[in-house]
């Protein structure tokens, strides 16, 4: 069963074409990662899928509802944690949650029970009657997540949920995301944190310049980098390593290879012939970040 379906979404702002025919499908119960560099069209896509913006053309269905024709029904089945959004600072945490519960048409008793559960789960129940103005960034974000989850939605959109958070809050949110997916609910996760996406997501879409570059599982994306193993080597002096599939990051060279033994020998030979010292050499599997950068590079 499909939870989110985008088909040929296009959106233009003045002379800028933000989306150039974005299409993808998210299955029910999936944690779907949505990656892309700044200005790639991530926020515009999320705003269209959450019914905030209307596309110029194309269609989107959320939980079976057309987001343009049946906007309110579609919105009723989603919870949203927008990237650039705040709770009302002069309302208490409780008032903020109850406001959202009212806007979702929840019954008071049901809303109160769920609000109490969520506030306790996210560790802010003791501060429920305090104004949000005095909350730390982590507490505000946890409250925003409570607000997104109050209606017990089938689909949850999380836009940069752990950005700039302390370790404890970030971990709490990640654990909750996994728990939500275990309940066969769908999570649409936008993040710049590759480790987070790698850890949480079943599939990942990469968007660049308003177009979907690819949609695949994190492991398959990583295997596309050009080798099964990444060898990371740092030389003591200036050195230009001339091997296939090599990239330079600061003082390190990263070589992607399917034959690590042969590549290490080549690196050692190079160091011996060039007279440079090897400061460190490590082998690791390519990360999602490697795959992300490689795929964007191929798009250029």
């Amino acid at each position: 069963m499909i939870a989110i379906e985008a088909e040929g979404l296009r959106k233009r702002f003045g002379n800028v074409e933000a989306l150039k025919g974005v299409s993808f499908r998210v299955k029910r119960g999936e944690i779907f990662g949505f990656l892309g560099p700044n200005g790639a069209g991530k926020t515009t896509t999320v705003r269209i899928l959450t019914g905030i913006l209307k596309p110029d053309s194309g269609k989107a269905r959320i939980n079976g509802y057309d987001i343009i024709e049946e906007t309110l029904k579609a919105k009723q089945s989603i919870g949203v944690l927008p990237e650039v959004s705040n709770a009302y600072p002069d309302l208490t945490a409780w008032q903020n949650i109850m406001l959202i519960a009212s806007l979702y048409g929840m019954r008071r008793r049901e809303a109160e029970t769920r609000a109490n559960e969520l506030l306790k789960e996210f560790g802010i129940h003791e501060r429920k009657d305090a104004k949000v103005r005095g909350f730390s960034k982590g507490m505000k974000q946890r409250l925003m997540l409570c607000m997104a989850l109050i209606s017990d939605p089938e689909i949850i959109f999380l836009d940069e949920p752990t950005s700039g958070l302390d370790v404890q809050s970030a971990r709490m949110i990640r654990e909750k995301v996994l728990e939500i997916a275990n309940e066969r609910k769908t999570v649409f996760l936008t993040s710049h944190n590759m480790d987070e996406v790698n850890l949480l997501c079943d599939r990942v879409a990469i968007i660049n310049k308003g177009k979907i570059v690819t949609v695949d599982t994190p492991e398959r994306l990583k295997s596309r980098v050009g080798g099964n193993v990444a060898i990371e080597v740092s030389f003591g002096g200036k050195a230009e390593l001339n091997l296939e599939n090599v990239e330079r990051f600061g003082d390190k060279h990263v070589i992607y290879t399917t034959n690590p033994y042969k590549t290490i020998c080549e690196v050692v030979d190079f160091a011996r012939k060039s007279g440079v010292e090897i400061v460190s050499i490590n082998t690791r599997t390519p990360t999602l970040e490697d795959a992300f950068l490689k795929l964007l590079e191929m798009e250029r």
Binding site: I52, N86, L99, Y104, G105, M144
Partner: protein, 238 residues
């Protein structure tokens, strides 16, 4: 009703602030005193003018800046992601503004009672309709697509202050020249001031039913325009 939740949020967030409440009473009171002192005007005339100004200023005081504030505080996107329409948001804002307008207008009404003035209870109906009409006007001011409350306040003040001078509050419309009377018909405040004067037993400028019809007409126009313009403006605030 989802618009009640919006209205409750507006009242707690924006209206129930000491300065807003005090300003809602003080501004009309100072204007009233400025025109009272040194002039030989009847108490009925002055109190009805004060009631008109209070309802007008209270109902248009905060509603113009709610949308820009929400844009600036970045609370708007969260609101727009909820299963509510722009109409619900506008109705909620109007409802909060009406509540504030009616609440503040009780002060000059109580003042009238303290002075021993008698009035017809039709004024209550007039206050409710006027608060609705002026709240919609306030929402119309806020449809200008900016997140700067100061810009909206400037636009609002440029329209609100001239209106009080052409609406028969300080000079009875009957004493205005023909062109002045024509201009005064363009102000919704004229009709409420007339209702207030009639309620306090003064001679009417227009039949009272015309005043009510005109106020209702202005309300519908302001409300429809507000909803249409806010539908366009809200997204530009994100």
């Amino acid at each position: 009703m989802k618009c009640f939740a919006i209205a409750k949020k507006d009242i707690v967030m924006y209206y129930l602030k000491g300065p807003v409440v005090i300003f809602g009473i003080l501004l009309p009171l100072f204007l009233f005193l400025a025109f009272w002192i040194g002039r030989n005007l009847s108490l009925n005339f002055l109190i009805t003018g004060l009631i008109s100004m209070t309802v007008f200023f209270a109902s248009t005081s905060v509603s113009p800046v709610i949308a820009p504030w929400e844009g600036q505080m970045r609370t708007l996107e969260r609101l727009l992601a909820c299963p509510i329409s722009t109409t619900t948001i506008v109705f909620g804002d109007v409802l909060a503004s009406i509540t504030f307008g009616i609440g503040i207008s009780l002060v000059p009404l109580l003042l009238a009672l303290c002075f021993g003035l008698m009035f017809n209870l039709i004024i209550i109906l007039g206050i409710i309709l006027a608060a609705f009409c002026f709240s919609c006007l306030g929402l119309l001011f806020s449809s200008y697509p900016t997140n700067l409350p100061s810009t909206v306040m400037m636009i609002s003040s440029m329209i609100r202050f001239p209106l009080i001078f052409i609406s028969g509050i300080f000079i009875p419309i009957q004493k205005l020249p023909a062109w002045g009377k024509t201009i005064s018909m363009l102000s919704p405040l004229t009709y409420f001031t007339d209702i207030a004067r009639i309620s306090f037993g003064m001679s009417p400028f227009l039949p009272i039913y015309i005043d009510f019809i005109a106020l209702a007409g202005f309300s519908v126009v302001f409300l429809v325009l507000s909803i249409k313009l806010h539908e366009r403006a809200l997204l530009s605030r994100l």
